[in-house]
Each structure stands twice: as C-alpha cells, then as structure tokens.
C-alpha cells in the first residue's frame, strides 16, 4: 500500500551515472578526433578553425586570463540571477494578488523578454556606467521573465480546496503566502530558476559585449571580442568553452538545489 519513494542505492546510482555519461563522452572523443584530423589533413588555417589541440594549448597558456575573465562574468551572472530570483518572485507574488493588476502589468513583463538586450545595452551603460553594474543589470533583464512567469503560474495553480482550507482556519494573506502559495509553487519556481540560470550567463556575456569595458575587469565577453580582433581563434574557442562551462555549472547548481528542496515530496525530484 505504501508508495515507494526510496532513493536508489549508491551502486545502482553509480551504474546509472556511467550509463548517462558514457554515450555523450564517446561522441565527444569521436568528434574531437575527427576535427583534429580534418583540420590537419585539409590544412585549414588556424584563424578559421583551429584544431582541438591548439584550443587546449591556448586554454593552458592563457589559463590565468581565462580564469579571471570567467570569474568576472560569473560574478555578474550570479548577481543578475540573484536579482532575478528575488525581484522575479516578488513581482509574481504582487501580480498574483489581483487579476486586474496582473492584466495591467503582465504585458510589460512579457516585453522584458522580447526586448533585444543588445539594443538596450547602450542605455544600460548610460544609466549604470560601463562595467560590472551594467552587465549585472543585463543578466537580470534577460533572466527575470521565466522566474516571474513560472512563479505566477505556480501560485495560480494552487488547489482551490487548499485555499478553502486556509480560509476556513482564518489564515491571513501572509500566512497563506508563506505556508501555502510559495511552497506549492516551489516546483514551478525551480523550473523558472533553472531556465533563468542559463539565461543569466548569456545576458552577462551579451552585456559585456557592449558595456563590459572598464579598466582591469574584463569578462568572457570582452575576452571573446579581443581574441576575435587579434584573430586568436583558439583563444576565442577556449573562452566560449569557459562560458559554456559557467552556464552548465550555474544550471547544475540550481537543479541540484531544487532537487534537494523538493526531494521528499515532489515527483519531479524522484527516481
């Protein structure tokens, strides 16, 4: 009768991990080998497409610069993501308080998503000055919408009978929010945050393209641009890989935290 929710034992989860990780790894090795051979055999110029070995070499020789740039971009992306989490959930809670308010303001939240960040990035430089702050705001603008939309949907889909229950026991607005709406919306919020995590990195790098120039602190976006200008395509690739790794790390951290939060009760975090 009791529904089984047991966590798989460590050995089966290890085997599971190998099963998940092996196929893409094999594909990657094959791809890299093919790429290396092709560029050598056809004599492709390195500024067009450097072989993987050259990219790896650039990664090693420029390790310090790449790490620094990754750190700077990470800082802006994480700050932007944190802003999105905070303000996005707050905005959704506000919109959820009344239908008329939602109807009045939601279109503008949608606008945030459709506005091309490249077009308004110069504006951000004017308002926030070049550097980290403008980049953070760029990461925020790009990543906030999925947080708002998913949180709102989560709050809206709370079981009406549960609302009745809280009403029957005289729960106030705040108690209903904290003890019913936010926990019930948590799976949706986590979904929104996972999307936002990847978007925040994209927003930070795009922001850096336009607004990232301030002395000393050059993020991955700046590194990509300067590598491009110097035709250091190997370094460009290495920077892109760093950006991808950063996005994956942030996404992974949010997913893991979400799973931990939901593990005991939500089907999305099981099995």
């Amino acid at each position: 009768m009791v529904a089984s929710t047991r966590v798989p034992s460590s050995r089966t989860s290890q085997r599971h991990l190998v099963g998940v990780a092996a196929p893409p790894l094999v594909a990657l090795v094959a791809l890299l080998a093919g790429w290396e051979l092709m560029t050598r055999a056809l004599g492709v110029p390195a500024f067009l497409l450097p072989p993987p070995s050259a990219i790896a070499r650039a990664g090693v020789t420029d390790a310090a610069g790449l790490a620094m740039a990754t750190l700077i971009t990470a800082e802006a992306a994480v700050a932007g993501f944190a802003l999105s989490t905070l303000l996005g959930v707050l905005a959704a809670v506000l919109l959820a308080t009344s239908r008329p308010l939602e109807r009045a303001l939601y279109p503008y939240a949608v606008l945030l998503q459709t506005v091309p960040i490249v077009a308004i990035a110069p504006l951000l430089v004017l308002w926030f000055g070049p550097g980290g702050r403008a980049v953070t705001v760029s990461a925020f603008i790009v990543s906030v919408f999925p947080v708002i939309a998913n949180t709102l949907a989560g709050i809206r889909s709370v079981e009406p009978s549960l609302r009745d229950l809280f009403r029957l026991y005289g729960a106030g607005r705040l108690a209903t929010l904290v003890k019913l709406e936010l926990p019930a919306a948590l799976p949706s919020i986590v979904t929104g945050l996972r999307v936002a995590a990847g978007l925040a990195v994209i927003g930070a790098i795009v922001g850096e393209f336009v607004a990232g120039f301030s002395e000393g602190a050059a993020g991955l976006g700046i590194l990509v641009l300067s590598a491009y200008r110097q035709l250091r395509t190997d370094l460009l690739f290495a920077a892109v890989l760093c950006a991808a790794a950063l996005g994956l790390t942030l996404f992974g951290a949010v997913s893991l935290t979400g799973r931990r939060l939901l593990r005991r009760w939500h089907p999305s975090a099981r099995g």
Binding site: A3, F166, R167, L168
Partner: protein
C-alpha cells in the same frame, strides 16, 4: 465513553431557511439550490444524499461559510453553550475554528510531514509548536496513525491520507464537522473501516456531523437522519430519521433493517428524478 451516549452539548445546531444559490454558467444561470429549509439538531449525524452534481456540496460550502447564498439564512448556533464549559478538553476554542471541513480528497500539504499537516489548523491559529504537536499526536493516535507522524503524504496509502485529513479536522475540536464525499475515492474495504471510525469519533466527541454522499448504503449505515435531494436545482424530497440502533457495528450492514432503510432512500432518490 459508550457509543450510545454522545455528549450532545458539544455540537451546534444548524438552521437553514430558504437558502438559494445560483451560479453563472456558460449558457446563463444554473440554479444549484432552490429554497432549502433544514433544521439540524445539535450533536446529530445527518447525511445529505443525492446524485452527483446535485448541489449538496454547494450546501455544505454555504454552511462552512466558504460561499455566500443568494437568498435565505444559515444559522450555526451553540444551542447548549453553557459559558463555554462545554468545550473543556480541547486545545483551542474559538468561533473561527469550531467548524471543520473534510474534502473529497485528503488535501494534505505534500511538503509537510503527517504531524505538521495534522497540526496545521492550530498553527494557523497561532498555537505554539510544542502544544500543537502534542495535540496532533493525540489526534493521530485517535485515528490509528501514531507511527506515521514523520512520513510525508506521498508515502501513505489513500486510506491513511484520509485518516490524516480526519485527524487534522478533529484537532480544533470542531463543534460542527462537515464532510464532502470524503471516502468516495477509496476502495470498499477501506471505506467501510473509515465509516466505522467516523461513527466512533462522533460517538466519542459528540459534534454535529453533516455528511454529503451519493452512496445510499453509506448514508443509511452512518447517519441518524438522511436528507435526500433532487438533481439541480436541489430540493428536499425526503427527510427521514433512520430506524436503526444507535450502536452500530459492521454486522448491521447485512441486516434487513438496513436493507429496508436503503430501499426507502433509493425510492426517494428515484422519485426525485435521479
């Protein structure tokens, strides 16, 4: 405490007079209740019986104060309220918490343990953690779930979840317990056990119970009085005090007396056009 002597002063009297309720539907107005008059004595066990969607749940929601009637009045009054002494033994006694509602599904909060689900009404009333947890443990042992307090709802069977829902409803010592087809989704055996448990709880605690169901046998088996409603808009076709012994056991399910009551209710339902 014997089954034959429920402490009736615990319950409240429910007087319903000329209650109407109409909903706005796609194709115009849908009347759900067309003038319901009902006087339910304090401490009684009444079954509201009718076909699905006949408006009996609407009536229950009106009594609970979760919805407003278009016309008519509903009075829920503590008839034998002798200075509040009748509430002795409970943990929290306030007007707001004296009505409890059990829904068709258990409707537990999946992120909370069984213990914290049970304690929720007291938590919302501002009772401190130690007191409400002690009260929740007491209610859980009453419904036979003492060893499940640390589990989450997802780890329970449907019947166990419903029992947690009952424990949660009882924790405020309600003077009025409203149940909206609470066991409808359960298998026959589990349902029978919960029926017995509910009768026993009523006998022990003496609150007024209004039980909505579409099962004729369940209504006859559980209640002292059965009110049969017609399909939308709901009208009362039969209001009958059942001629069955107060002390009921599972064996009564097979007696001719119960069979006779079931037949009377069945005929009333058919007469009503169900």
């Amino acid at each position: 405490m014997g089954e034959a002597s429920p402490s009736r002063e615990r319950g409240v009297r429910v007087q319903i007079a000329g209650v109407r309720r109409t909903f706005e539907g796609e194709g115009g107005e849908v009347p759900a209740l067309a003038g319901i008059d009902l006087d339910i004595a304090a401490g009684s066990f009444v079954a509201l019986l009718g076909p699905s969607g006949c408006g009996k749940s609407t009536l229950l929601r009106l009594i609970a104060g979760l919805d407003r009637a278009d016309a008519g009045t509903i009075r829920v009054s503590p008839e034998a309220d002798a200075g509040g002494a009748t509430f002795a033994g409970g943990v929290v006694r306030s007007a707001a918490t004296s009505t409890a509602f059990v829904f068709q599904d258990a409707h537990l909060l999946p992120w909370r343990s069984v213990l914290d689900n049970t304690a929720l009404p007291l938590e919302l009333a501002g009772v401190d953690a130690a007191t409400r947890h002690a009260a929740a443990r007491e209610e859980l042992s009453r419904v036979g779930l003492s060893d499940a307090e640390a589990r989450t709802p997802a780890e329970l069977s449907g019947g166990m979840r419903m029992r947690v829902s009952l424990a949660r409803a009882l924790i405020t010592r309600p003077r009025l317990l409203l149940l909206d087809e609470p066991f409808a989704a359960l298998d026959e055996l589990t349902r029978g056990r919960l029926d017995d448990q509910l009768r026993a709880l009523w006998a022990e605690l003496g609150m007024t119970v209004i039980f909505v169901t579409h099962s004729i046998t369940e209504a006859a088996y559980l209640a002292e009085r059965a009110v049969v409603l017609t399909p939308r808009p709901a009208r009362i076709v039969l209001d009958r005090t059942l001629d069955l012994p107060t002390a009921r056991a599972a064996t009564i399910r097979l007696t001719p007396e119960l069979g006779r009551e079931v037949q009377v209710l069945q005929e009333a339902l058919e007469r009503g056009g169900a």
